[in-house]
């Protein structure tokens, strides 16, 4: 890694988690440096989404530590809310607020959490909506938009908080094929702009093209990680080789 001396934006130390008898995360250790784009891949049920969700405590952990800029993630209350406000999260199902317009979706966080003035929040929201290409839809409701547009709004909603890092939990998995690229393009743009990103995805092209590092998970463990070209061309472990073979042609 290139940024060794700097405190990682996100760090997971010996993270373990069970669902009943199922050991979903096993001793996860991971550091994400500022500006790094980390792609997490692996078969379904490998724990990659769960890992992503532990970073802002949408999932709790049984043991270990989650550190944000070297500080432990608070476990509740305003401290936790404040920490979450600094991390963006984009979900598979978009999760836009159904009763709010697109513009209101994007201004909700800045107004409610950052106590920004409405006019300021709206101006900034319009800027972001233009950046993700849905400015014309600002006064529509989420249900009136296509999946791809909704996901781009969700990204704008996260960006409106000026996050230190963004997590993407399978952001294109619920999209029709023709809409996947419009979302990926926005993400590529973000990555180029220097955003620190954790991306759980099945989009191998995106992983190869954009990521700084690929993490391969299986059975709740990090099995292998490395630079994208190295990982995709010369996977070291059998599990990773099998996985890559199984998705070829998709």
């Amino acid at each position: 890694m290139e940024h060794v001396d700097e405190t990682p934006v996100i760090e997971l130390r010996h993270v373990d988690k069970h669902y009943g008898d199922l050991h979903v995360l096993r001793d996860i250790n991971l550091k994400i440096a500022r500006g790094e784009v980390l792609v997490v891949i692996g078969p379904s049920g490998s724990g990659k989404s769960t890992m992503c969700r532990t970073i802002n405590r949408l999932e709790t952990i049984d043991s270990g530590e989650v550190l944000i800029e070297g500080k432990p993630l608070p476990s509740e209350g305003r401290e936790l809310a404040a920490m979450r406000a600094e991390l963006g999260m984009v979900f598979q199902q978009f999760n836009l607020f159904a009763h709010k317009t697109i513009l209101e979706n994007v201004t909700m966080g800045p107004i409610e959490v950052l106590h920004m003035k409405r006019e300021e929040a709206e101006a900034r929201a319009m800027e972001l909506l233009a950046r993700v290409g849905v400015a014309e839809q600002a006064n529509k409701l989420p249900a009136q938009l296509s999946g791809g547009q909704q996901q781009r709004v969700a990204i704008a909603r996260s960006l409106a908080m000026n996050p230190k890092a963004m997590m993407f939990d399978e952001p294109t998995s619920a999209l029709d094929p023709e809409m996947i690229n419009e979302v990926l393009d926005v993400m590529v743009e973000l990555a180029r702009g220097g955003m620190t990103m954790v991306v759980v995805t099945h989009e191998m092209n995106f992983a190869r093209r954009v990521s700084d590092r690929v993490v391969f998970m299986a059975d709740g463990q990090i099995v292998e990680q490395g630079a994208p070209d190295e990982f995709f061309d010369h996977p070291k472990t059998k599990r990773a080789q099998d996985f890559l073979n199984s998705i070829k042609g998709h």
Binding site: L22, G45, R57, G77
Partner: protein
């Protein structure tokens, strides 16, 4: 999201996994409210006690088989009215629904007015109609029909709407496909739409039975011996008003609770929603 252990109900999703502080607060709150609830229950029991309602003479009749035999007789009356009214309401509801969706304007309009009328009028008013008004025209009905018919009419309006919701839930494309095969609209309704619609609404029909059972308790107005009416008879015999009414109320609650549970169970089995 495949590794979520169990799908969260929204009731639980409102709360996060608690941290230590929250856990402590919840524990304290739980303890306090538990005490409050227990004290509340205690106060109610105390009120029963100091007013003498817990005296054995008010409750011992519940141990006598004759009491239950008589109540069971009444319960049989309740069941016969409920079932008869349910069947009539279903037939009438189906007729009203078919009329309303027939596409024949005057028929549809009449069925709509009739449906809305029966949905918008209290069962008690319909009971008084059969009890007080109908005899004025020289028509003599038995007490069974004087309770069964109004309960059935009141339910028919609701059932017509439930059935219509079921018909609307059948994908439009199937009707179009059938039309393109040259089937006539009437046949399409009978052969394709209705069978599926009924599947959609079975749980809702079951849950509507609760409304019918509740309405049957008005049978005492026409002196038909249902559970409620027989309970009233027992009260005059035993002079045990509070205990008797509580017992009967509990029976009704349990019966209706069971019907609702059955409805929910069937809904889950069939994978359909309950329309209310």
């Amino acid at each position: 999201m495949s590794n979520h252990a169990k799908p969260l109900s929204i009731r639980d999703a409102l709360y996060e996994q608690p941290g230590p502080r929250t856990r402590r607060r919840v524990a304290i709150g739980t303890a306090i409210t538990a005490v409050l609830v227990i004290v509340g229950i205690g106060l109610i029991i105390r009120q029963f006690y100091i007013t003498g309602q817990l005296a054995p003479r008010y409750w011992t009749f519940l141990a006598q088989p004759t009491t239950w035999r008589f109540l069971l007789q009444g319960f049989r009356g309740t069941i016969s009215v409920a079932l008869a009214a349910g069947v009539i309401a279903l037939v009438l509801g189906a007729v009203l629904m078919l009329g309303r969706t027939s596409g024949i304007k005057p028929v549809a309009a009449v069925c709509r007015v009739v449906t809305d009328f029966f949905r918008g009028v209290p069962s008690l008013l319909l009971i008084y109609f059969f009890f007080l008004v109908v005899p004025q025209y020289g028509i003599r009905l038995s007490s069974f029909w004087m309770i069964t018919l109004p309960v059935a009419l009141a339910a028919s309006g609701v059932l017509a709407e439930v059935l219509r919701a079921g018909v609307n839930a059948v994908p439009r494309g199937q009707v179009e496909a059938a039309l393109s095969l040259g089937m006539r609209p009437g046949r399409i309704m009978m052969k394709i739409v209705l069978p599926q619609a009924i599947r959609f609404v079975i749980p809702s029909l079951i849950s509507q039975l609760v409304v019918v059972v509740k309405d049957t308790t008005l049978a005492y107005v026409v002196s038909y011996p249902d559970l409620m009416q027989n309970a009233r008879v027992l009260i005059t015999n035993y002079d045990a008003l509070v205990s008797m009414y509580f017992t009967v109320a509990v029976v009704y609650i349990l019966v209706n609770f069971a019907i609702n549970k059955l409805s929910a169970l069937v809904a889950e089995r069939l994978g359909v929603k309950i329309i209310r």
